[in-house]
């Protein structure tokens, strides 16, 4: 198991290395001249030259890449192109923490609920409960996030006044304040995930219920509930782990719309702004962070999967 872990960590390092090259190459391909975008269309050639040499943009691409990646690894993430040239690292890390908090809140809400719904529909396959859950979850997945988000804002925040509609995150606010802020965006993000995880759980539970060992257990005299708890779930929930890990990656970088609707300061909205202004240091750092969390989540999922599954654990 230890050697497996080490090997997986090594693979993760290689993945990150390769994606860093890809990220750098793609940012080079973004249209528009950085200096002109930052300084304005009418900037003098001297100012452009000055800007390019200040940020090292006049160097050959390989050197630029090595500088960037070297700096990234030694905690020097460069400065933003925006006014005042603030350092990138505190900015991105702050947003990253916000994204992590929202992702965790979403998973805490979505995972237990969707596993429960999936198992219920599997056990009652074909019944009205199953069909109700299937139709609802499919409908919810189909709705764009901004629709659910705005509906929730109007109904719950504006109409009932329970939660804040906008999520201004302030330093040193208490837990209660955090919860008030998180509930609506977390629910909105959950609605997308719940449909997905529920269907996955339902399918794998149904498949597992058909396996002959279920009959063996039932014919020992167990009730269906006992069979489900002791025999079926430990096998049926394995595929859901992978789905949840992929969802985590999406939650870290893909919540642009939700962050915008709720005005939540996460990484997704920062990423979009950085793309628009070709703010390369910010763009590259965020991309690396997202890739990092994505591969970390997958690594954890694989380890968990192997650990829970004796066929892999023991070979």
């Amino acid at each position: 198991m230890i050697s497996y872990l080490l090997r997986r960590l090594g693979m993760m390092a290689v993945t990150l290395m390769v994606t860093s090259i890809l990220i750098f190459a793609l940012t080079q391909l973004l249209p528009g001249d950085v200096a002109k975008l930052v300084l304005g269309r009418d900037a003098s050639p001297a100012a452009v030259e000055n800007f390019n040499s200040q940020y090292g943009l006049d160097r050959p691409p390989i050197e630029q890449y090595l500088r960037w990646i070297g700096g990234f690894l030694t905690a020097d993430w460069g400065v933003s192109y925006t006014a005042g040239a603030p350092p990138v690292r505190p900015l991105v890390i702050g947003r990253m923490v916000n994204s992590l908090i929202l992702a965790m809140a979403t998973l805490l809400f979505a995972v237990p609920l969707s596993l429960f719904l999936g198992i219920v529909s599997a056990v009652r396959e074909g019944s009205w409960i199953d069909q109700g859950i299937s139709i609802t979850s499919l409908a919810v997945v189909g709705l764009p996030e901004f629709v659910t988000g705005i509906v929730l804002i109007n109904a719950v925040a504006v109409g009932l006044g329970w939660f804040s509609a906008s999520s201004m995150v302030n330093e040193g606010q208490g837990l209660l304040e955090w919860i008030r802020i998180l509930v609506l965006p977390a629910i909105t993000a959950s609605l997308v995930l719940i449909g997905y995880i529920t269907r996955m759980t339902r399918a794998s539970t149904i498949e597992e219920l058909k396996k002959p060992y279920v009959r063996t257990a039932l014919l020992k005299g167990m009730t269906l509930r006992q069979v489900l708890m002791k025999h079926v779930l430990r096998n049926a929930l394995l595929p859901s782990i992978t789905i949840i890990a992929i969802s985590f990656g999406w939650l870290m970088g893909g919540l642009v719309v939700i962050e915008n609707v709720f005005n939540y300061p996460g990484m997704g909205s920062l990423l979009v702004t950085a793309v628009g202004f070709k703010n390369l240091p910010v763009l590259q750092s965020i991309s690396m962070i997202i890739v990092f969390y994505f591969s970390l989540a997958n690594l954890i999922a694989d380890l968990l999967y192997a650990w829970l599954n004796p066929r892999i654990r023991l070979g």
Binding site: M11, G221, P310
Partner: protein
């Protein structure tokens, strides 16, 4: 049942009377079991025999009250130890399960939870029913693992299912079924998924333990041989109805029903060298006439009366004074009087077949080797690559023109890999192959069209080997277009010619022209295999490799296919390499037999030579293990210890030494045995001399 024959002292364990079972299909309930009676006497083993679709497993599930959600017992009476099972409530039923009524399933590999240790699954029933505390239950489980002859109970108890072989898992399941002294054990094809030598030891075990525990059992099987060896009584089912039932010795000695007679006559072992009798297969859709005898469409004796009225179960007293023998047939008395020969006489055609020129070698292979996996490498996914598996280890074979080589061995013997290597689906690591004196490349893309056409393959499962989106005509036509000699020309004339050739081919395998447009899911198993055979013959091959060509088919259909293969061999002058785990099939088809064990040929010789001493000890065990219907034949001395070793850890020296009943010691363990050759060319690879083997085995048969 006839009252006077039920012994009054001990009431039967199970009485099923007039049971009908229905499945809901869409909105309709469809009757799958019709008015079946079944009585299982205390301490007796009752065999339930039938082919796929006969409803035998459904009846087993109905007795267990474990029908799938869309199934129900529609009518009838079901009593277990006098209790009415149809009125019993859920919790009382659960109390019975796992204790009084237990179950041994068909597929041991899937019937235990893959992520729970064996010991925990074994003690579950004891804890559930509060029979003992977990410590006592654990000790009880270990004792039972010992009783099912598991050498290292502690290690097995601590394992997960995937770490054990199918035979081991079936032992575990048998232990689980018997460990709480049940009154009734229901066994659903418990040995079907196992190798023949393992099956033999499991049958021994069942006989010993079921009788030892004083339990009664229902043994559901398609295997007449296994039933004949294990059971006291037997019931034969067909299309959801009981055809015949009685004591095993009586029923197999004097079968009355044409279906039972047909089934017994289908067994290749009984035919000797002649043509097999078969029961003509009828497409399933045609069998739906509720008033007729269900077997009428396939019955050679069917009359108008059979088609108008369903026969009733009649008592037919047999040779055993007190035995009950019931048969559902209008004509059993006349059929019995005819006493027809079970073997069809050879037709004119067959006798006039010219003998092929003597022993001209068509195909030969020398020193073929094929290994999988590279021992030195560790894969990226972190799985340690396994030790190289030497699936085919220095194998040499020769097939004369127009003759059949049978290759027999259990799973893991490398026989399928050998077949795939010959047709170059696998690339041989070493060795040479020749077809008609020309060297063959071991790579598929380096083989000439002529060679590709010359060697064709028939696969085990025709359902998987035919493209479900191609009609029978398209499948066969494709071979003509790709490999036909000459291929049909393009354009409308070519299409017409292609059609004619496909139709001819269909007719050659006994299918009418209307099958041209049928898709695989509109065909029965036997028909699919006919199409696959027609496809293999379309390229006018010289050699056909048939890998388990009948093992996915029912016995009655197997007989049809075996006859067809024999006919085609003579008409088309091809050679076969037939691969099978079933010695009876091999003995029926082959002129020459090679016996494989762990990738090596341990014995080879003519059909005659393989079937009589001296044998390789493994061949002897294989022969002894195959259950056969021979009333009165019960004791068979030779049983192999343990399971076939994994080819990953192939034993040194003689690969068979770990299980050999004639193991002598160091020499078997360390030295590769010599090939001992008789003057006639019969070869045995063994440290014992031919004379020694003959001395040991001479009195055996």
């Amino acid at each position: 049942m006839n009252e006077q024959h039920v012994s009054p002292a001990v009431p039967p364990v199970l009485q099923a009377h007039n049971i009908s079972v229905e499945y809901r299909i869409g909105r309709n309930w469809r009757n799958v079991i019709k008015n079946v009676d079944l009585v299982i006497e205390a301490k007796s083993i009752h065999g339930l025999v039938g082919e796929s679709g006969s409803g035998k497993s459904t009846l087993g599930l109905a007795i267990l009250q474990a029908l799938p959600r869309n199934g129900r017992i529609a009518r009838g009476e079901l009593r277990f130890e006098g209790r009415d099972m149809r009125q019993i409530d859920e919790s009382a039923l659960r109390e019975l399960r796992g204790q009084q009524i237990t179950f041994v399933p068909q597929n041991p590999m899937d019937s235990l939870n893959p992520s729970i240790r064996i010991s925990d699954q074994m003690i579950e029933a004891a804890l559930l029913h509060d029979l003992m505390d977990s410590e006592a239950a654990g000790a009880h489980a270990l004792r039972w693992l010992e009783r099912v002859h598991i050498a290292d109970p502690k290690a097995v108890a601590d394992s997960y299912p995937h770490q054990l072989s199918g035979g081991m898992l079936q032992r575990v399941l048998i232990a689980m079924a018997l460990m709480h002294r049940p009154s009734l054990v229901i066994l659903d094809e418990p040995t079907t998924a196992l190798d023949v030598t393992t099956q033999a030891t499991i049958l021994d075990l069942l006989r010993e333990l079921i009788r030892g525990q004083g339990a009664a059992a229902l043994y559901i099987s398609h295997d007449l041989g296994a039933v004949a060896e294990l059971c006291d009584d037997v019931s034969v089912m067909y299309a959801g109805e009981l055809m015949e039932s009685g004591a095993v010795d009586e029923l197999f000695a004097r079968p009355r029903h044409p279906y039972t007679r047909g089934l017994l006559a289908c067994l290749p072992g009984k035919a000797g060298n002649r043509r097999l009798r078969n029961i003509e297969e009828v497409a399933p859709a045609l069998q739906q006439r509720s008033l007729a005898c269900v077997f009428a469409d396939r019955c050679p004796h069917a009359s108008q009366r059979c088609r108008d009225r369903k026969p009733v179960l009649e008592s037919a007293f047999g040779t055993i004074p007190d035995g009950v023998h019931l048969v559902r047939c209008w004509h059993w008395k006349e059929i019995d009087a005819e006493d027809d020969d079970d073997v069809v006489p050879e037709t004119e055609d067959e006798r006039n077949v010219p003998e092929p020129p003597a022993d001209e070698t068509l195909f030969s292979a020398r020193g073929l080797e094929k290994s999988f996996g590279d021992p030195a490498r560790i894969s990226l996914t972190g799985k340690k690559m396994h030790q190289a598996v030497r699936a085919v280890d220095n194998v040499s074979i020769g097939i004369p023109r127009g003759k059949t080589l049978g290759i027999v061995g259990e799973s893991g013997s490398g026989k399928t890999t050998l077949a795939r290597t010959i047709v170059a689906l696998e690339r041989a690591d070493a060795g040479e192959m020749e077809l008609e004196g020309l060297a063959l490349s071991s790579r598929l893309n380096r083989r000439y069209q002529q060679v590709l056409r010359g060697i064709m393959m028939i696969f085990q499962n025709p359902g998987d080997a035919l493209n479900p989106h191609h009609s029978a005509g398209q499948s066969i036509g494709r071979t003509f277009r790709k490999l036909g000699d000459p291929p049909p020309p393009r354009g409308p004339r070519g299409r017409e010619e292609l059609r004619r050739r496909v139709t001819e081919m269909l007719e050659a395998v006994g299918l009418s022209a209307e099958y041209y447009h049928r898709y695989p899911d509109q065909l029965s198993g036997g028909e699919k295999q006919r199409v696959a055979i027609a496809r293999a013959f379309a390229g006018e091959p010289k050699l056909i490799i048939a890998d388990e060509p009948t093992s996915s088919l029912d016995v009655s259909v197997q007989a049809v296919i075996l006859n067809l293969l024999k006919d085609l061999r003579e008409k088309q002058q091809v050679s076969y390499a037939v691969i099978s785990h079933d010695l009876e099939v091999i003995e029926y088809l082959a002129d020459h037999i090679s016996v494989m064990y762990l990738g090596e040929v341990v014995e080879s010789g003519s059909n005659q030579e393989i079937g009589s001493p001296p044998y390789h000890p493994y061949t002897q065990a294989l022969l002894a293990a195959a259950p056969r219907v021979e009333p009165g034949r019960r004791s068979k001395p030779i049983r192999l210890e343990g399971d076939i070793p994994s080819p990953r850890n192939k034993p040194s020296g003689c690969p068979f030494h770990t299980r050999c009943p004639m193991y002598i010691g160091r020499i078997c363990r360390e030295e590769r045995p010599p090939l001992r050759r008789s003057a006639e060319g019969h070869e045995i690879r063994c440290h014992h001399t031919r004379d020694d083997l003959l001395m040991w085995q001479g009195g055996d048969q």
